[in-house]
Symmetry: C2
Subunit: 768 residues, 2 copies
Amino acid sequence: MNQDYIKADNWSIIEEGFDAERVKSSESLFSIGNGAMGQRANFEEHYTGETFQGSYIAGVYYPDKTKVGWWKNGYPEYFAKVLNAPNWIGIDIEINGEAFDLHACTQVSHFRRELNMKEGWYHRSFEATLKNGTQIRADIRRFLCMDLDESGIIRYEITPINKDATIAYKPYVDAGVSNEDANWEEKFWEPLEVKHSQNSAFVTARTFKTHFIATTFMHNTIWLNGQNATLNPENVESNNEKIQFTYSVNVAQNTTSSIEKIGGYTVSMNHENTLAAAEKVIATASQLGYEKLLEQQKNAWAKIWEMSDITIEGDVKAQQGIRFNIFQLNQTYSGKDSRLNIGPKGFTGEKYGGSTYWDTEAYCIPFYMATKDQQVARNLLTYRYNQLDKAIENAQNNLGFKNGAALYPMVTMNGEECHNEWEITHEEIHRNGAIAFAIYNYHRYTGDYSYIPEKGLEVLIGIARFWHQRASFSKQKNQYVILGVTGPNEYENNVNNNWYTNYIAKWCIDYAAEQIQKVAAEYAADHKRIIEKVKLSDAEIAEWKKVSGNMYFPYSQELGIYLQQDGFLDKDLVPVKDLDKSQRPINQKWSWDRVLRSPYIKQADTLQGFYFFEDHFTKEQLEKHFDFYEPFTVHESSLSPCVHSIQAAVLDKMDMAYTFYLRTSRLDLDDYNKEVEEGCHITSMAGTWMSIVEGFGGMRIKNDTLHFTPRIPKQWDGYSFKINFRHQILKVSVHQNETKFVLEGDHEIKVVVNGKEVLVEPNNLVTV
Amino acid sequence: MNQDYIKADNWSIIEEGFDAERVKSSESLFSIGNGAMGQRANFEEHYTGETFQGSYIAGVYYPDKTKVGWWKNGYPEYFAKVLNAPNWIGIDIEINGEAFDLHACTQVSHFRRELNMKEGWYHRSFEATLKNGTQIRADIRRFLCMDLDESGIIRYEITPINKDATIAYKPYVDAGVSNEDANWEEKFWEPLEVKHSQNSAFVTARTFKTHFIATTFMHNTIWLNGQNATLNPENVESNNEKIQFTYSVNVAQNTTSSIEKIGGYTVSMNHENTLAAAEKVIATASQLGYEKLLEQQKNAWAKIWEMSDITIEGDVKAQQGIRFNIFQLNQTYSGKDSRLNIGPKGFTGEKYGGSTYWDTEAYCIPFYMATKDQQVARNLLTYRYNQLDKAIENAQNNLGFKNGAALYPMVTMNGEECHNEWEITHEEIHRNGAIAFAIYNYHRYTGDYSYIPEKGLEVLIGIARFWHQRASFSKQKNQYVILGVTGPNEYENNVNNNWYTNYIAKWCIDYAAEQIQKVAAEYAADHKRIIEKVKLSDAEIAEWKKVSGNMYFPYSQELGIYLQQDGFLDKDLVPVKDLDKSQRPINQKWSWDRVLRSPYIKQADTLQGFYFFEDHFTKEQLEKHFDFYEPFTVHESSLSPCVHSIQAAVLDKMDMAYTFYLRTSRLDLDDYNKEVEEGCHITSMAGTWMSIVEGFGGMRIKNDTLHFTPRIPKQWDGYSFKINFRHQILKVSVHQNETKFVLEGDHEIKVVVNGKEVLVEPNNLVTV
């Protein structure tokens, strides 16, 4: 039974009723972020029930000790951790002398949370009776400014409803935080300075080892009965890492008082003097004030939705699901800063440590490409370009490659590998392929070739060199093989000739060689600069091509399918449907060896290749492989259902496509994997978007032209999405019997719908 | 360049000259033990130079936290650690008011260590000049009593040689010790009680978690000029975990004073009241006194050597090497206690954590079988029998097996698995085979079948059930396969159809089925008891036989050899001799993925099967496989050279056999692997013994008869060994042109020498 307490609503995530058991799940689901920072939906006031506290600053991490392996070499020295950042949201409350704590109240009623995705704010309200008998109503709204992205604001209103009350608001900032997953309660922040001035306070702290400096700040205003009470704190308590103000107000029964707290972080990544920067942010934000900031917030989100909204008619849960996904993606990554990337948990939890996985290239780039200016996708590509030197160092110093071969890390914050299982770190090398594929995909979608001569070609060369060296020649097969890898299906480790890996390896070499030729022909100066820099000869390219031209691909003549890896057919091939439910999920029920020797597939593997390279195969081939592999797929990765949904749609298996779609879009809202407490699955949310646009909508780019093969689940009346295609916006609306196109732009485009060309003129509805 | 500071000597290990750089290596090499406890050759007096302190009590361990794997299941909750035990050897010394410390002396000369293997004591002597100018001569002997095995004794003599001296002897016992490899300087001992009475002191402490209680004790006597000074301590200092006495004596120039310190441990494994037991041990030992104890020690070792000595003529280094191996084996395991086993580092270091590996069955049992009463080998078998329930629990609860299948742990202290790498813990399952093989080997050697109906059969059934369930049917091959294993060559992980594993799996099933029949026929009552206990039906046995009768063995028709695993021939087969020396040892130079996809073999794998099952194959087959696999073998396990030495001898490759022999026998003395600081390689020392007896001597048991095919390296004039064969002692002396046999016993035996029967009568020299 999945979780089902979230109310269905087109635009909001809503919880009603207070249940301490749900607090950690809701803290994840109601998380807010603005690309630069984010936080779980922790209560502002002190709470003694179970909670998972988390505030995060984009790009700020800690390198924790790696201690694995008895004798094995090549592990990274550390694994990066997302750090729980200092707390700026905290507001302790005392009411008639009693510390207010929802967990200790004699009664809580009308408890309601709303995450308003349309306008970008989080709201909580309730009535509560304290042990001392005082009954209050509270109304709390919080948002992280999308524009002024170093700040957020909280308005915390309290109305005593059964008697007058003395209310003490005690806002604080606190750098004395630790991580949930810290070993031995290690601290990661070293406090440097605590400062305050009138209603503002600042705690400056530095991370150990990485030496990021962050000033965490607050600025408070107290309101009574709608009027600014112009109070200064009556008490200031501080130690070397925390500062707390006390403001007391006497509030008559049924009169409303409130605190407005502006807070946030200024970080040494962006400022030389973080304290001075914090003072400026406070000045700007407090001058604007709560109402104006809220106005700006609504406008900012309106712009985002204008471009990225997907509507679904006739299925509120599906609508809520897709908007939740789009909302979270926009909260996590704004695309402004090429030093940042998309963490698998975004700002909703600590799990998975680093920020950057191959998820970015394989699943996220299409979403950002289609719903943002192309500069955003270019920034994501540039992130990898900027880390190319580290990828080469990794291959050379840790793994014994030479001559500029690059292996990008499986998980990273700063370009260094920070995952520490050999079967992943050293062997899940297909990630290099996705990084090259994203360059191809960017060019295919945007038509912007300039990235390749400027930056991309160096990345492609480093990757091609890696594959050339990583393959070895099998005398027995008289072909090149790639031994000892882990494919996208992490439920097989150290296998030989994973088809997906071999296929993308060959593709990478061929694509790199083609781009070298093209750059030589069309961008001679860039070609010269790059060839000299990387010292590449034609003879070396010829060596690469020997490998790509004679790569081995495991194939079953009898079944007519490519094999996931050499040994796949020796497995005991019992399909998932015949597996007892008590054994699922296998990664929680089975020891690792049992998982490995089973035929069960965690996420698309061979089918991932058919997804990336759909145009290399016939529909019959796709169907044969889908029908063979899907029955063994347990979809125990959040990244699995979306690819299967897209392929099921292509194969007109619409019931399957819809089932997979629901699973991906409401994975967290309905908590399919019983782990939403730990945070949301951010990167797979981009896969949800793909399920609609590429799956149901059938969008493809072929020869610089948009193609659509619209399909619609029978459960829906209609759906629509917009895409930014080469600086014009195309809105696509699909209903059961027709598809409509509207173009916002200034020049007509040709699109291909179900194989037929259609001309779409600016601002002119076209119905097909 | 290997280490070469150990003086060649037939009976002793000797170091001359003081070099602080060598202290840690010598601490390992001069370690002493008596089966119940042991210790590194740490100095008694305080030493401020680099040192690795270690005292160990057999069977006392600590379960340390396991923290590995991001999502993988089935890891053990802890890994066991050998614990550094409380220190009883410590004697701080003050001379004319200055704390004596070899590292702080202005001069040290005539420094000499001797480990007298013949008599079982460790001696150290030197002259030293303190900063205060006092010059002394010291003479220190220490041994751990083989008979009274809870005690040891130290005589520490000091003679001032340039002036009179006031000497304070400050002996102590201290439970405030920690492990070298402890995380975060964790303590493992909780002090319970400190007590003293006259010249005796006792510290009782309990290990955390495992709750072993040990009383560490001392009893001191001060001597001056050869007379017992009948002193009581003039000062007693103690805290909750340490107690220290001070005895001061005024010693005239060139007069000798000494302290005799009796010490040791009494442990809750053996005593209800460890303190009372310690008082008894002191009473017994002090009544005997130093000289008598030393006398006993010499006698005890004389008996051991009488039975287990191997002589080598014409090669002192080889002689010293083999005696060092035999000496260490006898120090590590006496065979008295079936709760104990043979740790890979014995009492010489902490590494490898647990005590029991498959080394015991594969390498150690033959040595103990041939040089001890057969009860000793039986105790080693019983150790596993006593842990059968835990092996079944492990298979069922952690690994998903059912119906009494047993998987013995890779590493254990108490029967629970305590190794934590999935590729070893879950996949190096061939260990189960060695445990069954040892039962067969015990019967083959001793002729004592009674162990099988009494205990062994249950173990064999649990193991057969494991293999039956662990194999799976490959439709493609139409045979049973064993997927996802690590063979003896740990440089391949998660491979399919490791030949050695498949072969021993089949053998285990067939052997178990035969023994069930035999026990049914000959031990009907035992058969009934066991079958009822384990609920075994004929139908189940028939299912086992389906698997063993149709097992797949990877084979190359072209090469005429069995393949180490399915994918072996796809590797880049460059022999070790063509590998650049800078790349060795590969486990230190290469990342793990590179090791895995290389063809390099850590230790005998396919050849291990040819060693165990030599009689299943022709000599031509052995030669073909040896010639194929040896060139890829890097021998980076201490267990590797011995098997290769034996097989090289069988194949008349005597130069190779001799090279491998030297490498195994002087591995630690010459520090081939540059790691002797961490401790000695105890279990491989039994392999050294096998290299001589089974390799050069060619000893085999066939049909209850001893066979020999004596060979001799050209570097030697002769060698001899004794074996205990079915309660009679046969001494075998091999010279370049003849082999002599002498039997100590009361009935003649038939032996087969080079294929010919020879009758050996009691006490009658036979020359062949």
